[in-house]
Amino acid sequence: MSSPLESPDDDWWGQSINRRESIWLGLAGAWSVLIFGWMSAFTRVGDQNPIGETIRVTASEYQEKMQSYKDAAGDRDGALVPDGTEVFIAAFRFNWDGTPVVLETGTEYDFHLSSYDVQHGFSIRPEHALSKQMNFQVLPGYEWVLPMTFDEPGTYHVICNEYCGNGHRTMHGTIEVVESL
């Protein structure tokens, strides 16, 4: 009787392991190593990685950056058209500064994400395919520079998915992606 409520026999370390349990250990171990390897390799060969440069920044510094970005940007039906490939987005209670913005497919943009006040969540999806969505945490004090290249034109909707106060649910911005600017 090997009960989990009693002290095991003195030689418990030396007891044999059932053959099928040994096989399972091998399978589980191999699977563990495989998924680690895939995740690790994908950071080198994959196109979707939540990896970018991070810059320490205060809210007022980021506001200044946003202002000079907006000053340089063009205008298209009330939406910003960035001058170059840098795109600045700032979350604040309860809106997205830097939206609406017009971008084009095929160009690699550097998205700068930060917050003027509390934590927010940058959750983005195109209107025509809601399942194509990705999500990033936005922190005050940190400017995250994430490269992004859109391959489909359309209206991309940004909503906040980190609770930021009672108006949280109203945070919405749009990114218009066109074939070419």
């Binding site: 009960s3 989990p4 409520l5 002290s7 095991p8 370390w13 007891q15 044999s16 392991i17 059932n18 099928r20 349990e21 399972w24 250990l25 699977w31 563990s32 190593v33 998924i35 994908f42 950071t43 979707q48 990685n49 939540p50 970018g52 991070t54 994400l113 509390v118 934590q119 969540g121 959750s123 999806r125 209107e127 809601l130 399942s131 194509k132 969505q133 999500n135 990033f136 945490q137 936005v138 922190l139 005050p140 004090g141 940190y142 400017e143 994430l146 490269p147 992004m148 290249t149 909707h157 909503i159 998915n161 980190e162 609770y163 106060g165 009672n166 949280h168 649910r169 109203t170 919405h172």
Partner: protein
Amino acid sequence: MSANLDVLGLFDNDYDDDGFRTCSVTGLSIHRSAENYVKLFGLTAVVALLVGGIFAFTVAMTRWEFIGLLSPNDFYVHLTLHAWNLLIFWMVFLEIAILYVGGPIVLGRRLPITWAAAAGYLMMLVGALAINFSVFFLSPPDTAPLLTAYAPLQSPPAFYAGVILFIVGAVVAALPFFLTLWQERREFPNRSLPLVAFGAFVTSIIAVEALVGGLITFVVTFLWRVDLIQWMDAAWYRQMYWTIGHGTQQINLAAMVTVWYFLTHVVGGAEVVSEKVSRSAFILYLFFINLGAAHHLLSDPAVSSGWRIWNASYAFYGAAFASMIHAFAIPAGLEAGRRKLGRGGGTFGWLTNAPWSNPVFSATIFSIILFGFLGGVTGVIMGQLQVNMTWHNTFATVGHFHGTVAVGTTLAFMGLVFFVVRTMFQRRLSFPRLASFQPYFYAGSMGIVVLMMMYLGILYGLPRRTAEVVRNIPGTDFSLVAASPLFMILGPFAILAILAGTVFLVVAVASLLVGDRVTGPEDNADLVPDGGEGDGGKPVHAYEMRGTFLICLVFLAVFVVSYVLNWYLLTELWSVGL
């Protein structure tokens, strides 16, 4: 304690002159001091389940925007109280009880320094009350903390103080457990702990790590909230908070696995097929499980990708490997144990002829299956650095942790409460048919809820923690209304799941208050596994485990398919990142 606190005849078992009695079901020698505190912590946990369950109803009926019960302001308050009462108070009060079972009761010892158990209990209770009341009556500029209280959002000072008190209380309440093990060690220096005590010991170490991390987090945040320090950094807070935020869930995991070994043995006849393998898996938990806190920081700007890959994978998936070991070892223990009792029969006979009408057994088995298939698989998948982008802060995350905690841990703990009602409170279950039905009802309805949550998050990018977003986002024509058909499934099944939780409470409370007393061992005879002596002589590892092996292969296949599907969805996205 039984003399002065004998409420409703719940603390009045017969003990011998030394304060011990022998349990007719487990054969364990139980001391009055340990048993009474198990009951006290257990009862308090059930009260927390009731409170959190009420808020489950209001939260679910708000997220189901077809009903739209609460205003947004109220929603965040109710969501906070739902989370704290169920994820923290229901779990941690019961886990202290589990420590007292896994230590003093399994080892046949009295509970030492009962003053620490009492003081810890009082601190936890006052802390829990402070959290509930400060959140329920909060006023601007304070905001509802939800579970995470992410600084620099501010919550009431009494909330932070309540958290600190609760954490300190939990550490103090764990001291008698540690002292028990120390005494056992001094008395029997060469004797290995029983597996359940060993699992409880590992749980307690993981718990102290989590609690100390939480203490640092909340003391600093409290000082910041009352303006004694000016400094606060959102990334620091996140990294520190998740030492307890996720750490408490790893306590649940380790405690739940320990309960699985305990209950499958007692009511199903399971044996330990390999002490070496099962203990090694617990050791892997000890070293690696708390790294899982990094899962919350995978889509964060402030931690490096190397740090994220190492920690989120629990160092090469050491802890996921450990869980897969238990996933084989526990059903294999049941299979081999029942074959040994002569209750085998074919490949799955040991399972089909098991005591399925005993709610302690069925709750345990459903907990094992649903935790693995729903909570465990998704936890590993969403914990991959890149896939996390499609799960982070979506409703799918909520689906994951309802798979782990709401079906997995809660179901195992419900089974444990039924067991304690019968063996420690010595009451027969009222409404026995309803009790037999309850685990099926809860597992089925909550399982559907969990699946819907995951689909909503992955297929529609539905955010968590929001009062409305499906039918209406104020200020824009855009909404996620395409997701509303799935909500028409989720909503009714959420009501059923809450009803199933209510059935649990009704059976447990009615049994305690008006249930027939257990008068002799024959009243609890049905808890003990049936079957004869079997052929006794063979060592347990020599029995067939092919049924378990096939089940595990199915599990691995589901794991692989889910993994591939998630990666497929990810690679369909536009390119992002360096």
